[in-house]
C-alpha cells in the first residue's frame, strides 16, 4: 500500500518534470538540454520574489512561471532559431546555455539549504494509515490536471492542433499555412513554462539546490527515452515504470541507487528497443 501510494506520487512527479522536455522534442525536434536549468531558475525566481521582494507567494509563482516561459522563448528566438537543423550545434548550444545558467546560479550563491519554498498548504492527510503531506497531494492533483488540460488543448484548440500538425509532418503543416518557427517558439515557451510549473509544485518538497538541475535533466531524458522520444503516452508510462522502480529501490535497497537505476534503464532501453516503449519514430529512421 505504501509502495503503491508513494509510487504513484513519485511517478506523477517524474512525468511532470519530463513533460516539458518531451513536449519540446516532440514538436520541434529540439533536444532541450537546458530543461533542468530552467527548472532551477524558476525556483530561484520564485524564491527571490517571495523572500527578497516580499511579494505574495501566488504572485511570485505566477511571475516565476511567466519569466521562465519568456526565458525559454528568448532562448529559442536568439540562439536556437539561427542554428536549427544543425543537430550538433543544437545539442551543444542548449547544453551550454543550461550549464551556463546552472553554474551562474551556483556561483551566485545558490548553495546549501537556505533556499526553500513553503508548501502551499501545510499539514498532511492520512490515507490508508499513512500520512501524506498536502504538497504531495497537490503534486498529484495538479499533475493530473495539467495532463488533462494539455490533452484537451492539443485536441480542441487551433494552436494545439497546429502543434500536433508540426509534430506529425512539418512540411505538410507548412503547406497548410502553419508558421513552423512561430509554433516552435510557442512550444519552447510552453515547454519552459511547464518545467517551471513542475518546479513550483515539486520544489517545496525539498531545498532548491543547483544539483537538482542536473538530476531533473537526467530524469527527463530517462523518461523520454524509455517512453520513446516524442511520445507523450510513452512518457507517462515510462515515468510510472521509473517511479515505481525508484520507490522499490528505496524501500528494498537504498536511496543512493536511485540514479544508477534510471541511468541503467536508459542504457538498457537503448540496447533493446531504441525507439522506446511507444516510440512513433520508425525503427529505420533511428537505426542505420
Amino acid at each position: 500500500m505504501e509502495i503503491l501510494l508513494f509510487g504513484i506520487i513519485n511517478s506523477v512527479t517524474l512525468s511532470l518534470t519530463a513533460l516539458g522536455f518531451t513536449l519540446v522534442y516532440s514538436i520541434s525536434r529540439l533536444p532541450n538540454f537546458a530543461h533542468g536549468a530552467l527548472y532551477v531558475t524558476c525556483g530561484y525566481i520564485v524564491w527571490l520574489c517571495v523572500n527578497t521582494l516580499g511579494w505574495n507567494y501566488a504572485v511570485g509563482i505566477a511571475v516565476g512561471i511567466a519569466a521562465t516561459a519568456i526565458l525559454g522563448a528568448l532562448m529559442y528566438r536568439f540562439v536556437l532559431l539561427r542554428i536549427r537543423g544543425m543537430e550538433i550545434s543544437e545539442i551543444i548550444a542548449t547544453y551550454a546555455l543550461g550549464l551556463a545558467v546552472i553554474e551562474a546560479l551556483r556561483w551566485g550563491g545558490l548553495r546549501g539549504s537556505t533556499f526553500t519554498l513553503p508548501s502551499f498548504l501545510a499539514g498532511s492527510v492520512e490515507i490508508g494509515g499513512f500520512a501524506v503531506g498536502n504538497q504531495r497531494l497537490f503534486v498529484l492533483g495538479f499533475g493530473v490536471f495539467v495532463f488533462a488540460a494539455l490533452g484537451l488543448f492539443v485536441k480542441f484548440t487551433k494552436t494545439g492542433l497546429a502543434l500536433k500538425a508540426i509534430a506529425q509532418d512539418e512540411r505538410a503543416a507548412m503547406m497548410l499555412g502553419i508558421d513552423s518557427d512561430r509554433i516552435a517558439l510557442f512550444s519552447f515557451a510552453l515547454g519552459s513554462g511547464l518545467s517551471a510549473f513542475a518546479a513550483v509544485l515539486i520544489l517545496p518538497l525539498g531545498n532548491i539546490v543547483v544539483e537538482t538541475g542536473y538530476n531533473v535533466l537526467i530524469y527527463s531524458i530517462a523518461v523520454s527515452i524509455i517512453g520513446g522520444l516524442g511520445s507523450w503516452g510513452g512518457a507517462i508510462v515510462a515515468s510510472f515504470l521509473i517511479g515505481f522502480a525508484q520507490i522499490l529501490t528505496e524501500v528494498f535497497l537504498s536511496t543512493q541507487y536511485q540514479m544508477v537505476i534510471s541511468l541503467l534503464a536508459i542504457i538498457v532501453t537503448l540496447l533493446l528497443k531504441p525507439s522506446g516503449i511507444f516510440g512513433k519514430q520508425k525503427e529505420l529512421a533511428d537505426r542505420v
Partner: protein
C-alpha cells in the same frame, strides 16, 4: 556609385596555387609556405617548456593544456569526421585515470607501461560501453555519452568502489618536469599528425562518408557499425591516454576525473577553433586553457564564461577561427565589378 555595384570576390593567392601541385618542391619559398604553419606549431609547442622554465606553475599548465587538446581532438574527430557527438569526454579521462592508477598502485606496473596499458584497456571498455548505441542516430548518442560519466560517478559513490569518494592515492609520478612536459607534447603531436594522416587515407574517406550519408556507405557493402566502433576506439584511446597521463601527474585518481570540465572545455575549444581540421581543436585549447588559468579566482563562474563564449561562437561565427585564418592565409579579397 561604382563600389555599390561591386562585389567582393575571393581569389586564391598565387603561391597557394603554385604550391598545390608537384611544383611545390621547385622552390624553397613554396615549400616554406606549405610547411610554415605546421613547423610553427611544432616548434612553438616544443619550445614552450623551455620558454616557461622560470614559471613552474605555467609548466604544469602545459600538461593540462595538452590533455585538453587531446580530448578536443578526440571530440572533433568523432563529431566532425565521423558524425558522432560525444558529450562525455570525461568518461575517457576518468576511465584512463582510474585504470592507470589501479595498474600502477595494485599491479605495480611502472609509469611507462601503465599509461599505454590503461589507454588500451580504457578504450576497449569505452568502445564496449558505447557499442550498443552506435547503430543509433542523432541525439541518442549524445544523450548516452552524456549519461556514462554521471553513471560512473554515481556508481563509484553508491557502491564505494575504487576508494569511493577519496579516490586512489599513491600513484607514481614522472621522474622530472621536463619529461612530464615533453611526453605529453610528443603524444599530442603524434596524435594530431597521425589522425590527419588517417583521415586522408581510405579509411578516413569512409569515415567522412559515414558522417555525410551512412545509408550509401551501407549500400556500398561497408559495415557502418564497424567503422563507427573503430572511430570510437581511436577517440577513446586518445582520451584515455590523456586521463592515464593525468592520473600520474596528479599522483591521484578520483571522481573529479569524471568532472564536467573535461567534457565542456574540449567542446568549447573545438567550436572556437573550428571543427573538422583537428588543428582547430588545438588552437582553441591554446586560447581557452590559458584564459581559464587567468580566470581561476572566479571559481565556477569560469564555466559560465566558457558557455557564453561557446554559444556566441556557435551562433555568430560557426566556422571557427581556424577556417577564418586558413581563408586569410590562402586567399585574398578584392572588389570586382558585378
Amino acid at each position: 556609385m561604382k563600389d555599390l555595384q561591386g562585389r567582393k570576390e575571393r581569389i586564391d593567392r598565387g603561391i597557394k596555387v603554385r604550391s598545390d601541385g608537384i611544383y611545390a618542391v621547385s622552390s624553397l619559398r613554396e615549400m616554406l609556405y606549405l610547411s610554415g604553419p605546421r613547423l610553427l606549431l611544432i616548434a612553438g609547442l616544443l619550445l614552450l617548456p623551455l620558454l616557461l622554465d622560470p614559471f613552474p606553475y605555467w609548466k604544469r599548465v602545459i600538461n593540462i593544456l595538452c590533455v585538453y587538446a587531446l580530448l578536443a581532438i578526440a571530440f572533433d574527430f568523432l563529431a566532425n569526421c565521423v558524425g558522432l557527438v560525444c558529450l562525455g569526454g570525461s568518461m575517457f579521462v576518468g576511465l584512463g585515470g582510474y585504470l592507470a592508477a589501479v595498474l600502477n598502485v595494485h599491479a605495480h606496473l611502472p609509469v611507462g607501461l601503465s599509461i599505454p596499458a590503461a589507454a588500451l584497456a580504457g578504450a576497449g571498455i569505452s568502445t564496449l560501453l558505447i557499442l550498443p548505441c552506435l547503430s543509433l542516430r542523432g541525439v541518442y548518442f549524445a544523450i548516452v555519452t552524456l549519461m556514462y560519466p554521471l553513471l560512473f560517478t554515481r556508481g563509484i559513490e553508491a557502491f564505494d568502489l575504487l576508494g569511493g569518494s577519496n579516490g586512489i592515492t599513491g600513484v607514481d609520478s614522472f621522474p622530472g618536469t621536463y619529461l612530464e612536459n615533453y611526453i605529453i607534447l610528443l603524444i599530442l603531436l603524434a596524435v594530431l599528425f597521425g589522425l590527419r594522416r588517417l583521415l586522408i587515407a581510405d579509411i578516413g574517406l569512409v569515415m567522412h562518408a559515414v558522417k555525410d550519408n551512412d545509408q550509401s556507405v551501407r549500400a556500398s557493402g561497408i559495415d557502418v557499425v564497424r567503422i563507427k566502433s573503430l572511430a570510437v576506439f581511436i577517440a577513446s584511446f586518445i582520451g584515455c591516454l590523456g586521463g592515464a597521463y593525468l592520473a600520474h601527474v596528479y599522483m591521484w585518481a578520483g571522481m573529479s576525473l569524471f568532472a564536467l570540465d573535461f567534457s565542456i572545455i574540449p567542446i568549447a575549444a573545438v567550436t572556437i577553433g573550428g571543427g573538422g581540421v583537428l588543428f582547430g581543436a588545438v588552437a582553441g585549447c591554446l586560447i581557452l586553457v590559458p584564459l581559464s588559468e587567468f580566470l581561476r579566482f572566479f571559481g565556477t563562474f569560469r564555466i559560465v564564461l566558457y558557455c557564453a563564449i561557446l554559444t556566441a561562437f556557435i551562433v555568430l561565427k560557426s566556422e571557427g577561427l581556424m577556417a577564418y585564418c586558413t581563408r586569410k592565409y590562402e586567399q585574398f579579397e578584392r572588389w570586382a565589378d558585378a
